[in-house]
Structures are given as C-alpha cells and as structure tokens.
C-alpha cells in the first residue's frame, strides 16, 4: 500500500476491512469512539492507525498489517507510512509485498507527487511486478473522468520506464471514504469499465515464491541439536532430494551429500522451494555454516568481494559503511559511485554525489567474499541493506 502522505492509504485499508467484513464490530466501534473523542468525524484509518500519536497527528508512523478475507482468499494488506522521513519503515513493509497498491489523490492540489513516484521506484527495485493504482478522493472531483485520465496519463510513462509490464498494471477510480469501487462497481463512475478494487487485488493474491527450477539454493542458518552434521536452512530456490549428487556448501567449498531431510518435523525424500529444512549430512562440518549456501556444484554462485549494485539511498553514504547480506553484517572497504538515478523520473543525473532519496549505481568493495548473485537471477541472494555506522542508509540490489 503505497502513496504520498494524506492521499488516503490508511482510510482505504479501513474501508476495505469494513466492506469485506474482515474486522470485528468491536474494533470498528473502538475506532468510532476514538474519532469522536478527538472531535473528528468517523475515521476508518483509525482501525489501522492504533498508536495514540498516529490518531492525534493523522499520520501512519509505522507499518501495520491487516488481513482481508475475500471469497476463498485471505490476503495481507501492508500499510506503510507516506512521510519522507519514515521511508525506512516504508521499505521494511514493502519488502514483504508481492503486489503494489498505489494510492493517488485526485483532489485539486494533491495529485501525483514526488513521493508517489518514489514509492513506485522503490517497489520496482524490491522486485514487485504487479501494480494497482487506485485514484482516490474521486468524490471530491465530482467523479470526473477527465481527472482520472489525467492521473493515468501522468503516471503511465514513468511506470513503464521503471520496468512495470503493461499487462501487470491496472488503474481504478475510487473513493476510500465513501466506498466507491472498493468491493462493488459504483454508479457514480459509469464510464469506468474495469473491476472494483478488491477484485483486482484478488486476481493478484498469492504467488511470489522463489524459483522452483534446477538451480538449488539453501541458505543455511546453523547447526541443530549440537551436532556438526545436521544443519538447518531455508530453500530459496530449487529443490533437494535425499542422496542428490554434486552438492556443495559455499563459500566454505566443501562437497557434501544430504543423507536425510526433515521438513517441519517429518522425514521426507525431497523438499521444495520455500521450505524450512533440517538436513543430515554425510559428514561433519568444522567451520561455522551460518550464512553459507548449500547448492548444486554445477551451477552455483561464485563468492566475491567486488559487487556492482544499484542502491536506493536514504541517508548520506559516509563514515563506516557496511552491508547486511543474508543475515550477516559485512564491512565495506570502499564505494565508487558510477551513476545517479532520479527516483522521481527514473532518469540518469550527471552527478557523482549520492543524494538522499535517489538511487546510485555503484561498485562496492567488501572486506570478505560473499556468495552474491544478480538480483534478477536469485532475488534472495541478490539484495542487501546498507548501514552507515548503526544507521539504516539504504537498500541495494546486485546487478
């Protein structure tokens, strides 16, 4: 759930929850009572924004998740803060999404803002493929088709420039506050031929698992039961079979064979992508396995210390830089900025300075070798968080 502050993200989720009966009456009543206590008319956003400070200030401070039940599906809506200074929380929330729902207000003087486009830029960088754009507050512009078309036209070029495929993008005119086109098509927008918002989301629910192809990648978490021959991990790509030939652990460079697999308490012959596994190996491993990758030796990532990456910068890249990759903190020796990209246009800027809230393409030199892959090859091994000292400074994807 993306968009500029005050364009109605939390209100929309509140409405979605109420109109699909996904929230209890007591919670709606609580939100109503609190609204009147603050001398406001009923604010659906209060169902989501439960911090006192959020209700007083009318803003979302941190991520909230809410479960919507519709037809046979239960899906999570992740509400994120729209304010610039809370972008760290926005990125945390968006990293768990597989579809972006962008809210743009059609109200005069609101419309498409830098933050609207920046959120889309980040979503695309995080690898989100599906996009629904809800043009909100249509009730305030008389449900005028021209206002809707203007926003659609204003965003379309940017959306395709940053890499969303046309087939994966839909636009819908709504009023989150009044409930138009949320679960039913509204009589106020006779000119709109598409589906109501909940249907568009329903079509895109689910999916977003790792690739289930021949390339095996298991991120190892550690040893189990105090034994050096049983490891735990999560399969982020491919699948594993008992006694499978040609498997190794990198960057430790140890050849191993998996003799037994336990998935969630049960012994099994094979396990597929997404599973948390315990693996009995044919030998003990002396080194610490945490953060290593178990993979097929025919096609495996090569551990390296030089990485080319695109980084979305949220804080000046200075001082003691490190990256958080795959559960490990790794110091950076140096960073060389090659290009800078304006996150509100998707275009190159001729400056080597890494400005906050824009992206840079950079060469990173790390203190140790990591088994990184290109993001478009294996997402789970192609992304990282950047820290400047102890402070969150951005996110990166390996190119």
């Amino acid at each position: 759930m993306l968009g500029h502050k005050d364009h109605g993200k939390s209100t929309l989720i509140g409405s979605l929850l109420m109109l699909t009966n996904s929230v209890s009456r007591a919670r709606v009543e609580e939100a109503k009572k609190y609204s009147s206590k603050l001398h406001k008319s009923f604010e659906p956003a209060f169902i989501l924004d439960s911090f006192h400070e959020e209700r007083m200030g009318g803003l979302t401070i941190d991520v909230t998740r809410a479960e919507v039940s519709y037809k046979d599906a239960a899906f999570s809506l992740i509400d994120v803060p729209g304010h610039e200074e809370l972008i760290k929380n926005m990125i945390s929330g968006a990293s768990y999404a597989n579809t972006a729902l962008l809210i743009v207000s059609a109200k005069r003087d609101e419309g498409i803002r830098d933050q609207t486009k920046r959120h889309l830029f980040i979503a695309r960088m995080l690898g989100i493929d599906n996009l629904v754009v809800a043009v909100n507050k249509m009730d305030l512009v008389g449900f005028d088709r021209a206002e809707f078309d203007q926003i659609r036209k204003g965003l379309s070029a940017f959306i395709s420039r940053i890499g969303f495929a046309g087939d994966n993008v839909s636009f819908v005119p709504i009023s989150a506050y009044m409930g138009d086109n949320i679960v039913e098509r509204s009589g106020n927008t006779g000119w709109y031929r598409g589906k109501p918002l909940i249907e568009l989301l329903y079509e895109k629910a689910g999916g977003a698992e790792g690739k289930n192809d021949g390339a095996l990648r298991i991120v190892l978490q550690g040893f189990l039961g105090g034994r050096k021959d049983i490891v735990s991990g999560r399969i982020v790509r491919g699948h594993i079979k008992v006694n499978q030939k040609g498997t190794c652990i990198i960057p430790l460079d140890i050849n191993i064979t998996v003799r037994g697999i336990i998935v969630n308490g049960r012994g099994v012959k094979s396990a597929k992508v997404g599973s948390s596994v315990a693996l009995k190996l044919d030998r003990s491993v002396d080194a610490d396995v945490r953060g290593s990758i178990l993979c097929g030796e025919a096609y495996c990532p090569i551990a390296r210390s030089a990485i080319r990456a695109r980084i979305f910068v949220t804080r000046r890249l200075s001082g003691r830089l490190s990256i958080r990759f795959n559960g490990m903190d790794i110091r950076c020796r140096s960073i060389k900025i090659i290009d800078q990209i304006d996150s509100t246009t998707g275009e190159l800027i001729k400056s080597k300075r890494a400005a906050e809230l824009n992206a840079v393409d950079a060469e990173l030199s790390l203190m140790v070798k990591i088994p990184a892959e290109r993001f478009d090859e294996t997402r789970e091994l192609g992304r990282f968080v950047v820290y400047s000292g102890k402070e969150f400074a951005g996110i990166g994807i390996v190119m």
């Binding site: 209890s24 909230t64 039940s69 239960a74 990125i91 978490q221 996110i395």
Partner: protein, 262 residues
C-alpha cells in the same frame, strides 16, 4: 475468517525460531498454557528435532484456573519442558491493568535478570490487537524493558537484524502472521493438546484465556476443535472480548506494551 496456508505459516515460524536460536545465546519463552504459546512450543519441537531446547516461563499469579494448572503439569511432563514458574502475587481486588499490566512485567523483569536471558519468545499475533499489529518479528527492548515503538529497526526480507545494543533483551514473535483460525486449524492438523477450558460447557466457552479474575467465557456451543473452527468462520465478535483489560482503551494497551507488557 478464512484460514491462511498453514505450510507457509509453519515454514516462517520455524525459520524465525531457528534464527533466534542461532543469534542469541540464552533464550527463554513465555508459556501461558494458552493455545498460542502451546502451538509455539509444538512448532519449536518441529524446529529442534523433537524437543523444546529453551526454558519456558510461566508468570504465575496463583489465580489461574485449576484446569490451567493441571494442563501445565500434564504437558510439561509429556514434552519434557524445562519449566520456570515465576510467582507474581496480586492483591485480591486487583483487576485488569493494575494486575497483568504492573505485577506481571515486574516479575518478568526479575526472572529475566536472574537467568540472564537475552531473548524472549512471545506468542503474540497481529490480528489480536491493533497495537500488536505494529510489532516486528524481532524487536529490541531497552534496559528498562521499554519498546521504542516510534523508532523500530528496519526488518526486510525475513532478515531480523535486531541487536541487543545495550538493551535488556530482544522479543521474538514467531506467531505474528497467524490468525486465530489458523491456530485452531493447526491444532487440529497436528493434534496439539489444548486446555479443556476452550471447549463449551453449558453453552459457554473460553475463547481467550487469562486468569480467573480477568477472564469471562463467551456464549458458544463449540465442544470440539472442528466446531470451534466452524464458529470462527462466521463470528463477528472479537477474540479477546472476554478479557477485561482489553476493554480499557487503546491508549492503555499501548502504554502497557511500551512498558513491557506481553
């Protein structure tokens, strides 16, 4: 309520428990003998080759239900739990936030310090309460056990980067994604033992369990796990409607969580 994919939930919970086990040196879990923390123990048994590798703490104010105490003894023996009972005596007339909100966190602080625990597994779920839906999977608490909810650490892609950083401990929330109906569907699938008070007697059952002072049963005819799942598919009332403290307002709950309430 519609249930989510149990395998997906199970995979993530087990992943979180194993991450906690690898990251921290001295972990404990809170166990209230309720359905959620008991489900968490069932998941821990799956994550760690059949046994729960960390101690479980019961903050006991000596006014839990008799059924709860016998369930505690039964399961502690059956699953060979390392049970720590920390007593938290209450004044006879204390109720709601004066009781759970003040006494229990104090007792928890004491027992955490005594044993030097650096991580605490708490089986909260997002759908229980507006404030709980703001939590991270792993969340640091400062030296005074406070939750700095306005400045939570980034937590991307199931990489739980929370560090102690001079704080008292990190809270671990492996059940954050689960909803009430998922818990019951999993109890059914895995045949997890539960406290008998959850099942209806004479037209009433406990939907959420606290102590005898603060918990009242709700109207229900659900006498089996299957009937509870059926009931939840259509219910419109709040899970914790039988808990007196939650009826105090959101602000109270937020203050309590910030101060270290579970």
């Amino acid at each position: 309520m519609i249930k989510q994919n149990l395998k997906t939930l199970e995979d993530r919970s087990i992943y979180i428990l194993r991450e906690a086990d690898s990251k921290f040196s001295n972990i404990a879990a809170l166990w209230s003998m309720g359905k959620d923390s008991t489900t968490m123990l069932a998941l821990a048994r799956k994550a760690f080759l059949g046994k729960v590798p960390f101690p479980v703490i019961h903050i006991d104010n000596r006014i839990d239900f008799p059924e709860t105490y016998s369930f505690r003894e039964y399961l502690a023996k059956k699953w060979k739990l390392n049970l720590i009972v920390a007593y938290s005596d209450v004044k006879p007339d204390a109720i709601g936030s004066a009781c759970c909100g003040k006494n229990k966190p104090e007792t928890l602080k004491k027992v955490m310090k005594e044993h030097g625990f650096d991580a605490l597994i708490v089986s909260i779920r997002r759908d229980e309460h507006g404030i709980r839906s703001k939590e991270r999977y792993m969340s640091p608490r400062d030296a005074k056990f406070r939750w700095d909810y306005k400045n939570q650490p980034a937590e991307l892609w199931d990489d739980y980067s929370s560090k102690l950083d001079g704080g008292s401990h990190v809270r671990v929330h492996p059940l954050l994604d689960w909803n009430e109906i998922d818990i019951w569907s999993y109890v059914k699938q895995e045949r997890i033992p539960v406290n008998p008070l959850y099942f209806a007697r004479n037209g009433f059952r406990y939907r959420s369990l606290g102590c005898t002072h603060c918990t009242v049963p709700v109207k229900s005819d659900a006498r089996t796990v299957d009937q509870i799942i059926k009931e939840l598919e259509v219910t419109k009332t709040e899970e914790r409607s039988g808990r007196s403290m939650d009826k105090e307002n959101e602000m109270v709950m937020q203050r309590l969580r910030a101060l270290g309430y579970m």
